[in-house]
């Protein structure tokens, strides 16, 4: 049976792809601490679209309820000069406390959570469970003809798992986008 088409493996070119040259494109993960006030996410996202920067992934949630601080993690790509410029442009936004380029912070950890729905019968089910076990994915929903797996890891690991599920009967994927934090005792 045909699995519904998903995004093809290579990331699609963004309509806002930087015109600065396709050479030396790097992917960076930025951590942005902001005041959790109305419109702050729109400011950040609007900055990216207005200035033609790429967003590969974006996550946001309040991390300090008392101080109303939210942490936004943005994965972006571009030449090093553009990445540096993105950091400075973000710092110009008034409600922003701090911008950290975690990719320059060599010891950063990145994780993403995905829920993957797979449909199949017979041997396909066995194969799906076997692969899930190898990837330490958990079954969080099951019917006689489907599973939903929960999987945590870096983005590459999730890509790989999704690719393996495709021939088995991949139905759909929901991903959180990347969350990231630096190693060691110090905050960013």
């Amino acid at each position: 049976m045909n699995a519904p088409t998903l995004n093809p493996p290579p990331p699609p070119p963004s309509p806002y792809s930087s015109a600065l040259g396709k050479a030396n494109i790097e992917q960076h993960t930025l951590s942005v601490l902001v005041d959790n006030e109305p419109g702050v996410l729109a400011r950040v996202v609007g900055l990216f679209s207005g200035r033609g920067y790429n967003i590969e992934s974006l996550t946001v949630a309040e991390v300090a309820h008392g101080e109303h601080l939210s942490r936004i993690t943005i994965v972006t790509s571009g030449p090093p000069e553009a990445i540096e410029q993105i950091g400075h442009q973000l710092e110009r936004l008034v409600p922003i406390h701090k911008v950290t380029d975690l990719t320059l912070h060599a010891r950063a950890i990145e994780r993403e959570l995905a829920m993957v729905k797979v449909r199949g019968k017979g041997d396909d089910r066995v194969e799906a469970l076997r692969l899930a076990d190898a990837f330490r994915a958990r079954v969080i929903d099951a019917t006689t003809e489907s599973f939903v797996f929960e999987l945590t890891g870096n983005a590459d690991k999730i890509d790989q798992f999704v690719e393996l599920m495709r021939p088995i009967g991949l139905v759909e994927v929901s991903r959180t986008g990347v969350a990231a934090i630096s190693r060691g005792p110090e905050p960013i």
Partner: protein, 590 residues
């Protein structure tokens, strides 16, 4: 000091506490409570404009000529959207504005109510910051924060959107003391080690140049004074962007004139050939750099700016110093004085000799005429007849703006108000009204084009209502002159829609508004006519009928480098096809 009062009264109280005694605005349903509070006090003077765009530009003119924050007050919906051009203009040129907009009551927000629009959504991209006030408790803090954000760091416009129910609500007002913003604390002091390094680079330079911009003006008169001192100490040549004119006096011996697309030959060649460029409060705009990959190829570059994102944005520099221009220049002057560096006097002398050969090209020269008034001549005469007075100049946008920048010479900062970054036609008249409000005794002249000035001509009524004797000096060539010039250069002389058809009779128009109208087309009568304008106690529209086909030179064509300028003499030469100067790549650029 905390008192109980309504939100509308808080707005007026905050304006008082911030020293904002002048307010440009237009009433409407969603700001009626604030207008009622204005009615019941005497501190804040309200200037009723005729269109909200005019309020924004008037507030800009007020801010730029006085160094204070400009304030405007408009209603919800169309009132707010009409300010968008002015807010964007202020953002591009870093002008401190606080724009207070009315909003429909909180419970109606999102219901497509009458005169509702998403003001904070619409203005998010054209303000430095904006606020929607959801509760009366937040209002005093936001009012004072807005003034702080607008005026500190790199200045810019701030919008405060206040729903009508918040204006009616009663709460506790707090004064502006102890305003300590949680997140926004721009760095004003420069890193001393870097400044020392900059001084060492300057001392070692053989072919240096100062390239200064609007940041020097924004940093205040002390910054301009310190700049002059540093130029005197070092003996280096200095050029400036359109925005920075007046920071260093045009009569100063080290002055090269403006640089960039319509800058002087000597300024652009000095930039191209220098070995050290010291950029001060300037942002390497495309109108300055020309072709980026051929921009000053052999130089080391120092960049002083308060906005870290300006550094390395368009041009990679060797040393970036983040800080307020006045603070950094103060340190620079002090370190230069105490270290008393040995400059290479021989090399500097050689450099000045080279610059003198560029000066000899007399790139601002034009062919004079006895029959028609040349626009450059008109500006020169206006300058000669007004230079000894307390004069402020605003402009619209186009050829007249460039001629004004080239031929009107500024000795002091804050005397020159022009829309640089956004290039807003219709800026000059409302800006002149704002300037005149800040300087009631001064001579305020809007150097205009006949096309631009019509974009906000309605503000003549404002000038008349407040007896503001602004002078509108129109260089009337019956064309959107810069559009026509580009069509000549780029589009085979096909003048698509750039002829000013069906112009009003400007003399009668002036009279219809209750102002004075003067027309002059004879070069011999020009001086007398200008004197008549200057001596008139009322607002004047001066219709200066100039040579229609005149082009604005010198010019760096799009896509070319600083050393590939077109001069007027070349364009006059028979046999040079002017439409062939710009290549296909250049035609794609703006």
């Amino acid at each position: 000091m905390s008192k109980q009062m309504t939100g509308a009264e808080m707005v007026v109280e905050a304006l008082k506490d911030q020293g904002a005694d002048t307010l440009f605005g237009y009433p409407g349903g969603a700001v009626l409570p604030i207008y009622d509070a204005i009615f019941q006090q005497n501190f804040v003077k309200h200037v009723l404009v005729r269109h909200e765009q005019g309020a924004a530009h008037a507030a800009e003119g007020y801010a730029r000529s006085s160094g204070k924050v400009g304030v405007l007050l408009v209603t919800s919906g169309p009132g707010a959207t009409n300010t968008v051009t002015g807010l964007t203009d202020a953002l591009m040129d870093s002008i401190p504005l606080v724009c207070i907009t009315g909003q429909v009551p909180t419970h109606l927000i999102g219901s497509d109510a009458f005169q509702e629009c998403d003001t904070v959504g619409i203005t998010r991209h054209c303000t430095k910051h904006n606020y929607l006030v959801r509760s009366i408790e937040d209002l005093p803090r936001i009012l004072h924060e807005a003034f702080y954000v607008a005026s500190s760091g790199r200045p810019g416009p701030v919008v405060i959107d206040i729903p009508k129910d918040v204006q009616f609500a009663t709460g506790t007002y707090h004064g502006p003391k102890n305003i300590q913003h949680k997140t926004y604390q721009p760095q004003v002091k420069g890193d001393l080690a870097k400044i020392r390094h900059a001084v060492e680079m300057m001392a070692a330079a053989k072919k240096p140049v100062f390239y200064t911009g609007g940041g020097v003006i924004n940093s205040g008169p002390e910054a301009s004074a310190l700049l002059c001192e540093l130029v005197k100490l070092t003996g280096f040549p200095i050029t400036s962007t359109l925005m920075g004119l007046g920071a260093y006096p045009a009569s100063g011996s080290n002055w090269l004139g403006m640089l960039g697309m319509h800058g002087t030959y000597e300024a652009n060649h000095t930039m191209h050939d220098c070995d050290l460029m010291i950029a001060v409060g300037a942002r390497f705009d495309d109108r300055i750099t020309g072709r980026l990959d051929a921009f000053s190829p052999g130089s080391k570059k120092i960049h002083i700016d308060i906005d870290p994102s300006s550094i390395n944005k368009n041009v990679k520099v060797d040393l970036g110093v983040i800080g307020d221009v006045a603070h950094v220049l103060e340190d620079m002057v002090r370190i230069w004085r105490t270290s008393a560096p040995q400059v290479d006097a021989g090399a500097l002398k050689q450099w000045w000799k080279q610059i003198d050969t560029w000066r000899e090209r007399k790139s601002l020269a034009y062919r004079p005429s006895k029959e028609t008034i040349k626009p450059q001549h008109a500006i020169q005469r206006l300058y000669e007849l007004t230079k000894d007075r307390d004069t402020y100049i605003t402009t619209e946008v186009g050829q007249h703006q460039m001629w004004a920048a080239q031929h009107y010479h500024f000795e002091k900062p804050n005397r020159w108000m022009t829309s640089g970054g956004l290039g807003t036609m219709g800026y000059g008249l409302p800006a002149a009204i704002g300037v005149q409000m800040a300087h009631p005794q001064a001579l305020v002249i809007d150097i205009a084009g006949e096309a631009s000035v019509l974009m906000n001509m309605q503000e003549m009524s404002t000038a008349l209502q407040y007896r503001l004797p602004v002078k509108i000096f129109i260089l009337n060539n019956e064309y959107m002159g810069m559009v026509r010039q580009w069509q000549e250069l780029l589009h085979g002389g096909r003048y698509s829609e750039s002829y000013s058809e069906a112009l009003p009779d400007f003399v009668k128009l002036a009279e219809a508004y209750g102002a004075v109208g003067i027309r002059c087309s004879d070069p011999d009568k020009l001086d007398d006519a200008i004197m008549e304008m200057i001596n008139s106690p009322k607002a004047v529209i001066f219709d200066c009928v100039v040579e229609k086909a005149e082009n604005c030179f010198p010019m760096i064509p799009s896509g070319k480098a600083h050393n590939e300028m077109i001069l007027a003499e070349l364009s006059d030469d028979a046999g040079v096809e002017i439409g062939s100067i710009i290549d296909e790549r250049g035609k794609l650029l703006v």
